[in-house]
């Protein structure tokens, strides 16, 4: 274990503030993420965790602050740029493409890498003229690896809307993985799962992190999971950062205990 090398800072968030009308979702938040680590964000409901991911992702534009990714600093980015740079994410409230099958959902994650244009796609054919078919097969192979990895082979062609919640979460993860991201943002990937499934999911996250060296930012409410698998933890409360450090440090932080963990942990 623990043989993995944590690298330099890959993502640096500095002094981010975000508010909606009167609601201050984030005030002056700074933290960083190092290459290859699993970074957890925890905090009570409404603390601003999801909003934080949305800022990194370009879904929300923070009023203040900057985000540095691999040395490039952005005031705010648009989602497309973020995706192109290699940041992928999953969503807290499932945001799958409900009408599409599992394969298609995951294939959308490959879209950025597909080069053939509209015409060659229209004229795609089994005879290999134009190259669209070949490209499609190439990406399909990649996606099949993900499907194998996530153990959802049996549901390949099921419309995702019909899958039970837990499997949908996996597909969501699969879609993000299909982007071959450098940084993976996970928003409560294990909500609504039982222990067994959480174990599976943890394993996926760890494997991704180990095998592909993907940096993971994870929001999760299950302290067991967070404490077990993350390397460092940021704690937010009412939009403010109240703790940052290794799981052990955080666990013993007075502020964190009173605001979030409660005495039972």
């Amino acid at each position: 274990m623990s043989s993995k090398k944590i690298g330099d800072v890959i993502l640096d968030v500095s002094n981010i503030s975000l508010s909606f009308g009167g609601v201050k979702a984030l005030t002056n938040i700074s933290f960083n993420v190092r290459e290859h680590e699993i970074r957890a964000i925890i905090g009570p409901n409404g603390a601003g965790k999801s909003s934080m991911l949305n800022c990194i992702n370009g879904v929300y534009q923070p009023q203040q602050g900057a985000i540095t990714f691999r040395g490039q600093t952005f005031k705010h980015m648009n989602s497309r740029q973020v995706a192109e740079m290699g940041i992928a994410r999953t969503f807290q409230n499932l945001a799958l493409f409900k009408g599409m099958s599992v394969i298609d959902n995951i294939m959308t994650g490959r879209n950025l890498r597909i080069k053939s244009n509209l015409f060659s796609q229209a004229f795609r054919n089994p005879f290999g003229i134009g190259g669209a078919e070949k490209e499609e097969v190439k990406h399909r192979e990649f996606v099949e690896h993900i499907i194998d990895f996530l153990e959802i082979q049996a549901y390949r062609k099921t419309p995702v809307g019909q899958l039970p919640y837990g499997l949908q979460k996996r597909v969501d993860l699969g879609r993000a993985l299909a982007m071959e991201p450098q940084v993976l943002l996970l928003d409560e990937p294990m909500a609504g799962m039982n222990v067994e499934e959480k174990q599976d999911m943890s394993r996926f996250v760890l494997d991704v992190n180990d095998e592909f060296g993907t940096t993971v930012v994870l929001i999760e409410h299950d302290m067991g999971v967070v404490m077990d698998i993350s390397d460092r933890v940021v704690v937010l409360d009412y939009g403010k950062k109240i703790g940052d450090g290794t799981p052990d440090e955080v666990r013993n932080n007075e502020d964190v205990i009173s605001a979030y963990l409660g005495t039972s942990h």
Partner: protein, 358 residues
Amino acid sequence: MFYRENGQFKTSYSADQQIFPIAQDRWAILGLIAIAAIGVPLLADEYLFRAIFIPFLILALAAVGVNILVGFCGQISLGSGAFMAVGAYMAYNTFVRIDGMPLIVALLSGGFFATLVGIFFGIPSLRVKGLYLAVATLAAQFFCDWAFSRINWFTNNSTSGSVAVSGLEVFGLPIQTPVQKYLFCLSFLVVFALLAKNLVRSAIGREWMAIRDMDVAASVIGIRPMYAKLSAFAVSSFIVGVAGGLWAFVHLGSWEPAAFSIDRSFQLLFMVIIGGMGSIMGSLFGAAFIVVLPIFLNQFMPWAGSLVGLEISTAAVSHTEFMIFGALIVWFLIVEPHGLAKLWSIGKQKLRLWPFPH
């Protein structure tokens, strides 16, 4: 018992990605095309061709186009009639203004101009969504209605505003008789349906569906809403425009803007919804339903009436036709809100389970 994919193993992804992965389906569809291309011309009479088959083929083509926009990309449009009109009038202008213009090129150029107009009227979709967009697309409808009846250039300065074409031919073959027209339209439909199917099962199709299902998530994985929406408008209005050209050139021969009125837009939307949003096959089902049903009712009722010794007046037939048509639409929606295509696939699924359900 016989309708199974059992024993059909796919050895490559390419095989798995075929349009019809099940062998029985492939044969069925080939058989269907063969019947359509060879059998029907031998059997059907002129009335069937002119009043049913040709309109069906053309409107099915248009419905395929509308389905790309509405069904696949989720942008409800009530402007399809307008794009048909653009296709028709621009094909007409290309055809009559340039000497020796081949018919197919004229039709495609109609499609091209429809694409431009489609993209233009698609721009609001970047801001406006859902029903607001639907109503906003009516702007295209009314604007085009107006432009083609007010601006004389489009009608080659015809005093009445009605235009006509004649002497259609392709590669030296005349498109005159019903059978010729039918085959001409059939080939358009087959080719375009295939191209459309290819698009929707490729990357661009996934982009459209992603935008339809969850646009924020789509943009997070790097899909540009602008490109996806406008390309859907472009492809859709191209196909719709070509269908408009066919409708005008092949079916009507002479037309005025009213041929592409708002009713046409609604009709196309009906086809897509009844047929099944997000299904190319569904567009054909929908078109068949909407084209054939009223005509059937219209002829069936007097006949049924005469069986029981009732003479039903034309007006009563017509009103009853409205009522039954409306009731059937509602009934189908209740039975299967996702359209005939879904009903079809459930049927197939049941067949696959048959005779041992569950």
